[in-house]
């Protein structure tokens, strides 16, 4: 066993230990530990990715001394390592972009706790990505929820505490269903490791027995994870949680936390239930339908919103709808499009949140559209970044959003039954996206006569601008050289089975 095969387990353990150590450190030190940790874990993930690409096959790392059907395992393939690397990049950039705001919004004595939560969040995300054991996945889902709740609540005002309460309630409903699903699955198959369960599920499916329990399990797992990742009818907590928490939290919640759950769902579909069994169960149609509804209703709510942060939050609902639509198509191409959209949305949404905070800061802290008029002249970098993010969300070529829309459309064409609704809703949703994002871009570039607010000098926001530039580069890279990444996703999905 090569040295590199230890890296996934080591990175999870490093994050957990960093969390414990940071809880005894001062805020400066905790921040250094956190930054070094995220970069280090990113580097380890990169090494793992290179190693897997070189050997051409996924590897399994046995945790502890017990072999396969009893012990706990970690499994790393191309997609897992790539996701871990991508999550680290987004997290690092979001933290850098929101650092100044964090100092303003969080009590000085509590800043170190923010980094503790961030370490634990990274640990749980990595565990969700890498684990090969369903019950471990459940435990880390809960750790992820608790850390995310802390991230919402760390900025103390009535709104955030209420949002955290609502977030917790929805999440707990989701994890209750997930746990019930896992228990029935364990009862059906007698295993907890994903590969063993899949073998048994194949037998059960072929023998035609236990049709009903299998269906109930699939439904419970899908609905549980859909609730946790804020699919359309379950999104009530989302605008407050994203709209009022501190900006790094909002960026990380929208681009990483919900994506972690979706990635787990995709992993369950491929590695636990089996793609064919899942497709036969017709649950895909339910996910497809709710995805389509989310695309429309999320965008309509965003148009009606008068607060820029909440508008971006509602746009997340629509984008999660896109991802579930891709999953619901039930084809390989749809799944590839969904995974690409996970990447593209993560890169774009965190960019938008961080750019929006720059714009509201030069408008007296107000987030109402009327006050934002002309703010792009007062903070030029944030204006440019917001425009790039908006164009990418609308789906203009050169940026990542275009590629994911293209992939979705291509996937839709391959599916006879779902082609028409998918393409129509994709079109409508694009127009709605264009309405609210372009409205905002036009407003921030509308010149104002009287100068009510000060503009901000470049030297006061070097780190912020650097983070925005990195996000823009990431977006353009995803948009221009998408083919290697799509190939990588395809390779990763092939490695799942």
């Amino acid at each position: 066993m090569g040295l590199i095969q230890n890296f996934p387990a080591v990175s999870i353990l490093l994050c957990l230990f960093a969390g414990i150590i940071s809880s005894g450190l001062k805020k400066q030190a905790a921040r250094y530990v956190n930054t070094i940790l995220i970069s280090g874990v990113g580097f380890l993930s990169l090494c793992t990715l290179m190693y897997i690409l070189e050997t051409g096959e996924a590897f399994v790392y046995v945790m502890g001394k017990f072999p396969a059907p009893w012990g706990n395992e970690i499994r790393a393939g191309v997609l897992e390592a790539f996701m871990a690397l991508f999550f680290c990049i987004i997290m690092l950039l979001s933290l850098a972009g929101g650092r100044k705001k964090l100092a303003d919004e969080v009590e000085d004595g509590k800043t170190f706790l923010y980094y503790v939560l961030m370490d634990l969040l990274l640990a749980s995300l990595l565990a969700l990505v890498y684990t090969n054991d369903l019950f471990t996945a459940y435990v880390f889902v809960e750790i992820n929820t608790i850390a995310a709740c802390g991230l919402i609540m760390i900025r103390q005002n009535g709104r955030t505490i209420e949002a955290a309460a609502r977030y917790m309630i929805m999440s707990l409903l989701g994890s209750g269903l997930l746990l019930m699903g896992l228990c029935i699955l364990y009862d059906l198959t007698g295993h907890l490791l994903m590969s063993n369960i899949k073998e048994q599920m194949g037998w059960i499916y072929l023998s035609g027995q236990y049709k009903m329990p299998a269906l109930v399990t699939i439904a419970l797992l899908s609905v549980g994870l859909a609730i946790k990742s804020a699919l359309f009818p379950f999104h009530a907590w989302l605008p407050d949680a994203y709209g009022y928490s501190t900006v790094s939290s909002a960026a990380i919640l929208s681009s990483l936390v919900s994506k972690g759950y979706i990635f787990l769902l995709i992993k369950i579909i491929y590695r636990v239930i089996g793609f064919e069994v899942f497709y036969e169960s017709r649950i895909v149609d339910v996910l497809f339908a709710f995805g389509l509804m989310g695309m429309i209703f999320g965008s309509i709510s965003a148009i009606r919103e008068n607060d820029v942060r909440r508008m971006i939050a509602f746009s997340s609902v629509a984008q999660i709808g896109y991802i579930y639509m891709g999953i619901g198509m039930g084809t390989q191409a749809g799944m590839e499009a969904s995974i690409f959209h996970i990447l593209s949305h993560a890169a774009t949404k965190s960019l938008l949140f961080i750019a929006a905070i720059g714009l509201t800061d030069v408008s007296g802290g107000s987030r109402q559209f009327i006050e934002l008029t002309g703010s792009a002249y007062r903070n030029k970098w944030a204006g440019v970044a917001f425009t790039v993010g908006s164009l990418s969300m609308v789906g203009v070529p050169l940026f990542s959003g275009f590629i994911s829309k293209l992939l979705f459309a291509q996937a839709a064409v391959q599916n006879d039954v779902k082609m028409l609704p998918a393409l129509i809703v994709l079109g409508i949703s694009t127009i709605l996206n264009a309405i609210y994002f372009m409205k905002t871009v036009i407003r921030i570039y509308t010149p104002v006569e009287e100068h009510k607010y000060e503009s901000i000098a470049f030297k006061n926001m070097k780190l912020y601008v650097a983070a925005l530039l990195c996000f823009i580069i990431l977006n353009v890279v995803l948009g221009v050289s998408s083919q290697p990444i799509v190939d990588l996703i395809g390779q990763g999905l092939a490695m799942f089975s």
């Binding site: 809960e142 209420e162 309460a165 209750g176 228990c183 009862d187």
Partner: protein, 124 residues
């Protein structure tokens, strides 16, 4: 199907309790009642696991009197899962209770909807 339901009454009860807990967590307005619902829901899952893990005429897998035959004991994994689940459930309940205390200190009410309406009035 009906006959199975009767012989598996433990699992049936667990499912009913799960439903009750889920409904309470979803529909109650009072935060404390919601947390009680959460606990009923989680406990129902542990009941289900324990019920499924039990095999008649066998005992808990702790070696006593030197009996080492596998036939004498039940599978320890469901019990282990229940223990892990309890730990998770305790920490989540504690977090929910602490959020409830924060909200009560600010708004002197446990009704989540009323808190929302007041927040809208404050216009924060």
């Amino acid at each position: 199907m009906g006959a199975n339901l009767f012989s598996n009454y433990g699992e049936a009860v667990a499912m009913i309790l799960f439903g009750i807990g889920f409904g309470n967590l979803l529909l109650q307005n009072n935060l404390i009642k919601k947390i009680i619902g959460l606990n009923i829901m989680d406990t129902a899952i542990y009941l289900f696991l324990a019920e499924k893990g039990y095999i008649e005429n066998r005992v808990a897998p702790i070696v006593t009197n030197g009996v080492q035959s596998m036939e004498a004991y039940i599978n320890p994994i469901p019990s282990g899962l229940v223990l892990t689940g309890i730990v998770v459930s305790v920490s989540v309940s504690a977090l929910m209770l602490s959020i409830t205390i924060r909200l009560y200190q600010r708004y002197q009410t446990l009704d989540l909807d009323e808190i929302s309406t007041r927040l809208k009035k404050e216009g924060l």
